[in-house]
């Protein structure tokens, strides 16, 4: 383009000129045959490039889609393995909070009302009873042993 409008003309041709530049260029074009010829050449070449082509082969498009479906399935699979894990984690957390709150406020009440305390008393009494029986048996055995010892010493004398 042998005139100063070269780059302005390009912006005008491709619709990237602002309103003022567009008006200025149109005014210039009315008087400049070289720029009009350049526009015509650009249009011819542009039209030539715009001729519809056959497009990519079906095989190429199918290969892309096979890969896309495989990748998408992989992504979905990845998602499913995480979802239940997150759900169980959330449930565990909720249950933990419920137990913590209930235990903090009424642990003693819970134990009393459940009858555990009475059962513990019973166990404790049984142990005491067993200890007492054992002590009695032990005392009896010691007494019997001492009697035998006395009898032996009398026999030896």
């Amino acid at each position: 383009m042998n005139c100063e409008y070269g780059e302005k003309l390009i912006l005008y041709f491709y619709g990237e000129a602002g309103e003022a530049l567009r008006a200025e260029t149109e005014s210039h074009l009315a008087a400049c045959g070289v720029c009009r010829a350049s526009l015509a050449a650009l249009k011819q070449a542009g039209d030539r490039l715009s001729v519809p082509q056959a497009g990519p082969s079906r095989a190429a498009q199918a290969a892309v889609m096979v890969a896309a479906r495989a990748q998408a399935a992989k992504r979905r699979g990845f998602g499913f393995s995480w979802r239940p894990a997150l759900l169980s984690g959330a449930l565990s957390a909720v249950m933990g909070v419920v137990f913590a709150v209930s235990a903090r406020n009424s642990a003693a009440d819970l134990a009393w009302n459940s009858g555990i305390d009475a059962k513990l008393d019973s166990v404790e009494y049984s142990v005491y009873q067993a200890e007492s029986d054992l002590a009695q048996a032990s005392g009896d055995w010691e007494y019997g042993y001492s009697v035998l010892e006395d009898e032996r010493s009398m026999v030896e004398v």
Binding site: L11, R48, L49, Q53
Partner: protein, 190 residues
């Protein structure tokens, strides 16, 4: 803007496990991406492979695409890089002659062409072939900007960002491309 939001929503759906969302995305962008790759390589089989490579990148690693940017810009960046790798591989293997042949243009056909080769081709051809030959006279840099603008429909600002160039450089390349196309096509009709 609506198109960008729809693209972002489809990518999000795909990331969430909806494979068919990827199919919709491919359907929306396949024509410009494939057209660009076919124009760059000149070979339907290579364009097919590269097209697959571009979308497989999105399939395998959708996180590589930042949903705040335009999907179209991302796809064309990946397509351009894939095409450059393709030409590097082809050149390294030396299976493809640099100049290519009648059916299969080689890497040199996409680098700046020197006259009189492409100019000679302007004669005795259909209009479409004459335009192709005129485009063959553009430098690789000019052609890159021209093809990207035509197929991606991204703005020059976005193309400049994609190429890592100042917008003035991108516009200057495009301006010179337009001048060259005019010269070649005018010369032919004289």
């Amino acid at each position: 803007m609506e198109e960008e939001q729809a693209d972002a929503a489809l990518v999000a759906a795909y990331k969430a496990g909806d494979a068919e969302a990827l199919g919709v995305l491919m359907e929306r962008h396949k024509a410009p991406v494939y057209g660009y790759l076919l124009r760059l390589t000149g070979r339907p089989d290579a364009a097919d492979d590269l097209f697959q490579e571009v979308f497989l990148k999105l399939v395998k690693n959708p996180g590589a695409y930042n949903e705040r940017e335009k999907l179209r810009a991302w796809l064309f960046t990946v397509a351009r890089n894939a095409a450059m790798d393709y030409f590097r591989r082809e050149t390294a293997r030396s299976e493809t002659p640099l100049e290519g042949d009648a059916d299969k243009p080689g890497p040199a056909d996409f680098i700046a062409s020197s006259e009189p080769g492409p100019e000679q081709a302007l004669y005795n051809k259909t209009l479409g072939e004459r335009i192709d030959a005129a485009m063959g006279c553009l430098s690789a840099d000019q052609r890159e900007v021209f093809y990207l603008r035509q197929y991606s429909e991204l703005s020059f600002r976005e193309i400049a960002d994609m190429l890592g160039l100042p917008i003035g450089t991108v516009l200057a390349r495009m301006s010179r491309a337009a001048a060259l196309l005019r010269e070649k096509l005018e010369k032919e009709t004289q």
